[in-house]
């Protein structure tokens, strides 16, 4: 119904693919969301030295493991991009599924951490630190899920040689998810 009346537009004044231009601006707006959140946390953290005690209860080993998992999953996203550029679509799809698997491992570890912390009696309503902890990691987790969905969707398409440019865009989004975690991990876990 909708498709039949949509004007298809293919042009580029800058020489860049329009999807890439759009993706960069979209990522910039995502950076603004987490940037505001991270700055708020830092301002509160500086005003509350006692928060270092709460940060002791976060599981550093789990966080470090998750950091490695996310960085590795970004590597497979990059390899998928390279494979798609060589027109090896089946290989690109498999590599994207590997990235999705990395996201899944990340979420499982995060779920273990949450249950551990809640078991210890730390919930989002305990105090401001735990409020920030659950809010920031929760919002990041939501982005992990969105990223995984995008990667999985692109993986099913690219296997048949469709939506090839999507490998790049989903990968860009995944790198953003990755980079945000690189900020959250030291702020919430290590700064004690």
């Amino acid at each position: 119904m909708v498709d039949s009346s949509t004007i298809q537009v293919y042009r580029t004044s800058t020489g860049l693919p329009t999807g890439r231009v759009a993706m960069w601006w979209f990522l910039a707006s995502e950076v603004a969301i987490f940037g505001g959140l991270i700055m708020s946390f830092i301002m509160c953290r500086v005003a509350h030295p006692e928060w270092s005690e709460y940060a002791e209860y976060t599981v550093n080993a789990a966080g470090a493991f998750n950091t490695i998992v996310l960085l590795t999953s970004s590597l497979s996203a990059v390899l998928a991009h390279a494979a798609a550029a060589r027109r090896e679509y089946a290989r690109a799809a498999n590599l994207l599924w590997a990235t999705v698997g990395g996201g899944l491992v990340f979420l499982c570890v995060k779920a273990y951490e949450y249950s551990h912390e809640i078991h210890e009696g730390f919930t989002p309503v305990t105090n401001l630190f735990w409020g920030f902890y659950f809010f920031m990691t929760g919002l990041h987790g939501l982005h992990v899920i969105i990223g995984m969905s995008a990667l999985a969707y692109v993986a099913t398409k690219v296997r048949h040689g469709k939506l090839v440019e999507g490998v790049e865009y989903a990968g860009m989004y995944w790198h953003l998810v990755d980079i945000i975690w690189i900020f959250l991990f030291p702020l919430l876990y290590l700064a004690s």
Partner: protein, 572 residues
């Protein structure tokens, strides 16, 4: 290239991906919401006119009055200014002005409107839930908005946050489209320095919006968590920080003022050039002033918080940046006024509204410098002086520049002209009554009238005959202001069927939207246009012609501009 295919009613007028239909949807939704916001304004003025000396009288329950004030501010900023100025005119004009068939992402564009429509429904429904609508002001400062014990509102504020969040999502989708269309969809030969000022202004508005709204999205989600899940981000009793929300709000809230200002300036720039037959004075200076305003708009926000308990050492830097931002804005204003100088001015309704916009906005801008100085702000903060100030900026931006734009581009939208006589009634009525509404409010503010009190006469100094007279003038003028919008509403709808038929280029203007028929078909241009020169070539000294459109080939031999552009194709 027009698309030859059958379209059902639903895909043509409702779930359309055509940027012009989406523009009309945004604009008409925005104008409908302006009626709701105007009704709320009428209720506010009626209440303030009906109070008796000694703190008695009044028509509205104070709790309901708070809801009405909140609703008025929220609607006028987010559901009128944004959809009409940014989304309505932006959708209509960006693809036409850059010579494109449609937006870069037509389906994303359609999704943007329908998310916006959902947000409109949620906002209107929020007034009907138990406890009433949000009553914490359009800024929704906690703890007023975070704790139902203070405002008596529970579900109202939750729905309010949801509506605002949906609205932001809609404009983020729109913003991506506007930016990519403006920078990547330009016609062959059209460099960034050939873009009409309106496209530059919309580009700046979209960039500023997308880069400033993030912290408030985070803040709104945190407020929602405080409200529904019992976290304590903004609750001072539990170690939270209410000023943090103010920072997150105004980091977006102040750039938002410029998000609204930019399209209004763009509309005015297009109108004054074509209706005075003059080249825009200092095109590049105007572009640089837009860029400078955009950058400075990110570092002025704390001037809203001089009395909120921020570190006093912050006050001076934010005063300086606030006063500094008036410099690039003034550069734009002076360029526009210099454009008029020596022009062959035609006082059409569009031109009258554009000039009226400059005159009224100037007063809003100048009083802003007074508010921006921390020492002066401590006295006038949260008073009717501030109310008068920002209405002197926003009313001209939204309703005067917005009306100017509607009179100017209505022929392009509907293929017919608005009635000029009714337009002049609309303009002069608006001009007189607008000033009568808000000039007395500067004085009331200096007398100590607080922004959001339902019964100001509780205070002796607001029960004096002078104060009551000013309240009455303001309220009666408000009735007049609402009344003179009636001819406009009639004109808007009646002219769709009965207005004088418009030619493709009725104003003899140069920009590309006038190169296609009025109204343009789906796909806009019969032939993809090619751009040979900058906008605003009016009365060129070396030519006979009164104006030279951007797509008119030069005389003599020429080469077609080469851009890396793939030939556009119509729908499958």
């Amino acid at each position: 290239m027009s698309a030859h295919h059958e379209e059902s009613f639903w895909s043509k007028y409702v779930f359309s991906t055509d940027h012009k239909v989406i523009a009309k949807q945004y604009m008409i939704t925005g104008l409908f919401m302006a009626l709701a916001g105007g009704a709320a304004a009428g209720a506010i003025r009626a209440q303030l006119a009906a109070v008796e000396p000694g703190g008695t009288g009044g028509l509205l329950d104070p709790q309901f009055y708070n809801s009405v004030v909140t609703l008025h501010g929220t609607i006028m900023v987010f559901w009128v200014a944004m959809p009409v100025l940014v989304a309505g005119f932006g959708n209509l004009l960006i693809p036409l002005m850059v010579g494109a068939e449609d937006m870069a992402f037509p389906r994303l564009n359609m999704a943007s409107y329908w998310v916006f429509f959902a947000s409109t429904v949620v906002l209107l429904l929020s007034m009907l839930v138990p406890g009433g609508g949000a009553a914490g002001g359009w800024t929704s400062y906690p703890p007023l908005s975070a704790d139902p014990a203070y405002s008596g509102v529970n579900w109202g504020i939750t729905l309010w946050i949801l509506a605002v969040a949906l609205e932001f999502i809609a404009f983020l989708m729109g913003g991506v489209n506007f930016i990519t269309t403006a920078i990547n969809m330009r016609a062959p030969g059209m460099s960034m320095w050939d873009l009409p000022i309106f496209v530059w202004e919309e580009l700046a508005a979209s960039v500023v919006f997308m880069l400033s709204v993030g912290p408030l999205i985070a803040g709104a989600l945190m407020l929602l968590a405080d409200h529904q899940f019992g976290t304590h981000f903004f609750d001072p009793k539990m170690g939270g920080d209410p000023v943090l929300f103010q920072h997150l709000f105004w980091f977006f809230g102040h750039p938002e003022v410029y998000v609204i200002l930019f399209p209004a300036f763009g509309i005015a720039a297009e109108i004054i050039t074509s209706h005075s037959r003059k080249t825009l004075y200092g095109y590049r200076m105007v572009v640089w002033s837009i860029i400078a305003t955009s950058l400075l708009s990110f570092i002025v926000w704390a001037h809203h918080q001089f009395v909120a308990g921020i570190d006093p050492r912050l006050a001076t830097p934010f005063s300086i940046t606030t006063i500094l931002i008036s410099v690039p804005v003034a550069v734009s204003m002076f360029s526009f006024i210099a454009t008029l100088y020596g022009g062959s001015i035609r006082f059409t309704s569009a031109m009258l509204f554009a000039i009226g916009f400059f005159a009224c906005f100037l007063l809003g801008g100048v009083t802003g410098i007074i508010n921006g100085a921390a020492a002066a702000d401590i006295y006038i903060h949260d008073s009717y002086y501030v109310v008068a100030h920002f209405h002197y900026t926003l009313y001209p931006l939204v309703f005067m520049a917005g009306s100017a734009g509607i009179y100017h581009w209505y022929p392009k939208m509907f293929g017919r002209h608005l009635d000029e006589r009714l337009g002049k009634v609309h303009f002069w009525g608006t001009m007189v009554f607008f000033n009568l509404v808000f000039l007395p409010q500067f004085n009331l503010g200096m007398m100590g009238h607080h922004r959001r009190i339902a019964v100001p006469t509780e205070f002796d100094f607001l029960s004096t005959p002078t104060a009551l007279l000013m309240q009455d003038i303001s309220s009666w003028a408000m009735a007049g202001l609402l009344l003179v919008q009636v001819p406009f509403i009639y004109n808007f709808f009646a002219s769709m069927a009965r207005g004088e038929k418009a030619a493709a280029n009725p104003w003899r203007a140069t920009t590309l939207e006038w190169a296609c028929p009025s109204p343009p078909p789906h796909g806009n241009f019969a032939e993809p246009p090619v751009c040979f020169r900058g906008p605003y070539v009016y009365s060129p000294p070396d030519r006979q012609a009164d104006f030279v459109p951007q797509d008119q080939p030069p005389e003599g031999d020429y080469q077609l501009p080469q851009n890396p552009i793939v030939a556009p194709s119509a729908a499958k």
